[in-house]
């Protein structure tokens, strides 16, 4: 079993960081053996996570950065996105599927991340800020029936 390998990228609070993070994630996903459909889902989850961190966390402040981490664990890819905002609780996020929110122009990012990944959590980091953590099992682990949470 291979040890965990990790890639850490510091992203500036600019829109170009979204494409950069997605590109890094897609390269890692290809190397890890994810198929096209999985790569699309992971890439989109990364985009949504980084957009969330830049816009809602850092408020696009040029003084703030986002720490983007990809961890290749033995059976899964773990992605973390840490911003330097005030942090938030998932329970405070309006449900985009509620009738009264369906016609809102924003607020669907977390729903998409949850839909596309096997696990999704948000925590307030000890340094402040929100840290999104999301996991996708490797195809081999998925077909072998590895439990999502251990």
């Amino acid at each position: 079993m291979q040890p965990t390998r990790r890639i850490v990228v510091t992203l500036e609070s600019v829109l170009e960081s979204v494409d950069l993070a997605e590109g890094v994630a897609l390269s890692v996903c290809e190397a890890a053996g994810f198929d096209e459909e999985d790569r699309h889902k992971i890439g989109m989850a990364v985009r949504e996570g980084v957009i969330n961190a830049l816009q809602y966390g850092n408020q696009m402040s040029p003084e703030k950065t986002v720490r983007f981490t990809l961890s290749l664990e033995p059976d899964r890819l773990v992605i973390r996105v840490l911003d330097q905002g005030p942090g938030f609780d998932l329970s405070d996020v309006p449900d985009p599927l509620a009738e009264e929110n369906l016609l809102k122009a924003s607020g669907r990012g977390i729903l998409l991340m949850r839909s596309f990944m096997d696990e999704f959590t948000v925590e307030r980091s000890p340094e402040g800020g929100a840290e999104i953590a999301m996991t996708r099992l490797y195809p081999a682990a998925r077909s072998a029936g590895v439990k999502k949470e251990e």
């Binding site: 829109l15 979204v18 699309h40 989109m44 985009r47 949504e48 957009i51 985009p96 599927l97 369906l102 016609l103 809102k104 122009a105 924003s106 669907r108 990012g109 729903l111 998409l112 839909s115």
Partner: protein, 114 residues
């Protein structure tokens, strides 16, 4: 592939052929401006052909919703044509199939406008 939008007029309905990506900072702003321009020109019946849209994120979905409500608030109609599987899946996840009128056939879509 970057975002492109080409409008054509068919029987009083504006069909907009979209291609590329509708994402934050790329297609979203262009799509918003395009809808505003159509309304400013008095074109209130809009059919968005998404057949060549290969990628859309939550910002792009938000822009479609925003376009839908903007057109509707001005008494018009905005409908969708030719969804790719990825866009279809996104509308399903976000429950927006209950909001948008979606067509697979252009002639039938055109005929559906009042």
């Amino acid at each position: 592939m970057s975002f492109k939008a080409t409008a054509r007029e068919v029987s009083g309905i504006t069909v907009v052929d979209l291609s590329g990506r509708i994402t934050l900072g790329e297609g979203s702003a262009m799509l918003r401006q395009m809808v505003r321009d159509l309304l400013a020109k008095g074109q209130h019946k809009v059919l968005l052909n998404l057949g060549d849209i290969n990628y859309i994120d939550s910002s792009g979905i938000g822009e479609l919703v925003s376009g839908f409500t903007t057109v509707r608030n001005q008494g018009g109609e905005l409908k969708l044509l030719h969804l790719t599987k990825k866009v279809h899946d996104l509308l399903q996840i976000t429950k927006l199939f209950t909001v948008f009128e979606v067509h697979d056939n252009e002639q039938q879509a055109l005929a559906s406008f009042k």
